[in-house]
Amino acid sequence: MAIWANYQRIFYQSGILDFRSFPTLPVIYYMQLAAYSFYALIGNLGFNDPLLFFHTTYVVEGVFLKLPMIIADVGVFFLLARSTKCLAAALYFLNPFMIYLSAAWGTYDSVMIIFLVAGFLALERNNEKLATVAFSISGLVKLFGFLPLVLIVGESLMRRRIKESFLQLGIAGSIASVTLAPIVMQGGQQNFISGFILRFLGVSGAQTRNYSIFSALLGTSFGGAPPYIWIAVIIVALTFLVTIRRTSSLFVPVLLSSTLGAIFLNIFSQSEPQWLSWPIPLALMYASITKRVGLASYAYAFGAIATFLTMTLTQGTGYVLFGLPLAFFLGPLEGFAGAIAVYAVTTLCLLLLLTGYVLSKPVKFKLEVLALIVVVYTQAYFWLAIVGIQNT
């Protein structure tokens, strides 16, 4: 939130539009410029915004900064509800994790998700061009959105529909050019490549710890994504190749591969906590079309548990509530040594269970699953936080 606020304040106070050091893809910058304009207007009219506790953003300012994400969540609800996926719509919109990310923390994953969902709904209606547009925008919000687009283009090439694949690449390239042009015009392409693109290829110069199971247990720093990211890529490619042979429709193979992609990128890549939101809408849509109520229920439970884990083990309650990263209000549940390792192990368990629900025959959701996760959490807590086996 501090980063969003700083870039918007500098634009509306000093007139500086800074794409050279903006730390991520610029779509969210554009959207926040639009949303923040109303805040700038009321500020110019004399509105005095209070600062609450130790937050880095003012109260109303924070609402305007989060507005694109909150509107995106509402949009996903309407998109899913309109396409008769009412259960999926409700389970997404009322998912604690989506509420936490968009309304409390202020991450922009839901902006990527709305275009991702729009793309899949277009694909379901066999409107590949609209799907290409939606996936391109989604990918320009967060790179994960490009995954289904790559599969669609790959399928066109596999079936030797060269003209179609060129059209898809042309649409994606045009949208990307327009979106990224301001970065190039400001001479920020070197920063963009070194500071952003190389991070996701695992060849960034900055050695950072991340939340993946490998980093948490081995204590290793990586130059962005760990080298294991290619395992996730191979799993997605294999899933797509196997499923596309069984059907003439693109929708289910792309959806299934993307769902598994979202799951395995959370295991084999940087595994940022907010990335746990990616499998939720995809699993809900997959559950809807394959009539898996168990999977839909588990996706909801997955979100609720992910909220608890992210809130206590990666952020700390003090950060979201009071703006204090080192203040912990839930006693032994947060701020302990080994918290990231406990988080990594428990989320790994959650993700593997989700894989089971996606790949196995339809099964009912049972409360025993929650008990199983509690067992994994407590075991991880004992061995990694109390005994500290990863430190020996």
């Binding site: 501090a2 509306y12 000093s14 500086i16 050091s21 110019n44």
Partner: protein, 374 residues
């Protein structure tokens, strides 16, 4: 009446576009500030190791051995120092130390370099102490330094210590001019329950001067331990939020470096540790106040503001500064603060109701309300 989505969407886009363009740079409240500071970089200096000013002799008269009663220790001095220690299984930690006198001036900005090998299973460290011109003794080591309690690896290691920097970090103040380091200690320590024979072999111990080479452009070459970018920044009333340094860098294959933003001897911000990129020489480093936990391996000048790129491993052979910008904020990220416990409790309860209870209850109620008749 049918609601037409496209006209509404176009109207929203138009209104927000007009507001965004029209309100650009108009807000009076000053809560953020950004400066492009490339023109404020008034000199770039390369820091490299200079000539050897002192080299320790390894003769029996110079070194003093000190060991607890229950520990058998043997010191051999023959062009190198070899300390063999037999630790008995004890319920308390044990340490054996060897020390010698020295006369190393802190005014000369000296780096002590030692090449040594210590057995696996014990820890070791090196300590310094000195004297001010007024005769007041001082320590030039601290418990949390990387030079203390290092695990023995069983293979040769090189360790370096900047004496002025160590003295500053140990005492929280720059050394009094004319102060000298008068004694150097090496120790081998064992945790409770450790038993067996262990050794420490010091093959070389010397001190070298640190020399600075200034460049009249934004680039510098050499065999550099660090690059210092001296800045002449205007004073800002706000707090530092982020600093971005863009540069081209080349170095030895094992080069690892960390950027620091310093005001005198205060670390205002620090970056991540970077390795030399295989695909490009260009790097954009972000420096954040909340990452500032380290310290450069030499003492920066007291009245200077500088970005310092420090080679943690390997050496920098080429550096060219491309861009430099600083972002400031009136609402910095605070690590700690006091919140009234009652307010905290009530907020937590509301938070859990908002985040978990309300949505879960709504989902359960909705699923029951729309349950299929069949």
């Amino acid at each position: 009446m049918k609601i037409r989505a496209y006209p509404i969407l176009i109207s929203i886009v138009l209104v927000t576009s007009v507001l965004t363009i029209g309100l650009r740079g108009t807000t009076q409240q000053t809560t953020a500030y950004q400066t492009d500071s490339l023109q404020n970089a008034h000199s770039i200096q390369g820091v490299s190791l200079g000539k050897v000013l002192w080299s320790a002799d390894f003769n029996a008269t110079s070194w003093h051995l000190s060991a607890p009663d229950m520990t058998l220790a043997r010191l051999q001095l023959n062009n190198s120092l070899e300390l063999n220690v037999t630790f008995a299984n004890q319920p308390i930690p044990e340490a054996v130390e060897v020390s010698r006198n020295a006369n190393l001036s802190l005014d000369q900005n000296l780096v002590v370099f030692a090449q040594l090998a210590v057995s696996v299973g014990v820890h070791y460290g090196v300590r310094f102490s000195g004297m001010t011109p007024g005769g007041a003794p001082f320590d030039a080591w601290r418990e949390t330094s990387e030079l203390q309690h290092r695990p023995g690896r069983g293979s040769p290691e090189n360790i370096t210590a900047n004496l002025a920097s160590e003295a500053y970090l140990a005492n929280g103040q720059t050394p009094v001019p004319g102060s000298i380091i008068t004694r150097i200690w090496f120790y081998v320590e064992a945790t409770p329950g450790t038993s067996g024979e262990f050794s420490m072999k010091v093959a070389s111990l010397k001190s070298l001067s640190l020399q600075r080479t200034a460049s009249d452009s934004h680039e510098i070459s050499g065999t550099l331990e660090a690059v210092v970018i001296d800045l002449d920044l205007p004073s800002v009333s706000q707090n530092l939020f982020q600093a971005y340094v863009g540069f081209d860098i080349l170095g030895t294959s094992n080069l690892q470096y960390t950027p620091f933003f310093m005001n005198g001897t205060s670390v205002l911000a620090q970056g991540f540790t970077y390795v030399q990129n295989r695909l490009t020489t260009y790097e954009i480093a972000v420096l954040l106040p909340n990452l500032a936990v380290g310290f450069p391996p030499f003492l920066p000048e007291a009245n200077s503001t500088a970005v310092i790129i420090v080679a943690k491993a390997g050496e920098i052979s080429f550096f060219k500064l491309d861009s430099l910008s600083f972002k400031f904020t009136s609402t910095p990220l605070m690590a700690e603060g006091v919140v009234d416990p009652n307010v905290a409790r009530l907020t937590m309860i509301y938070y859990f109701l908002f985040l978990f209870v309300t949505p879960v209850a709504a989902v359960i109620l909705l699923s029951r309300a729309f349950k299929s008749e069949s």
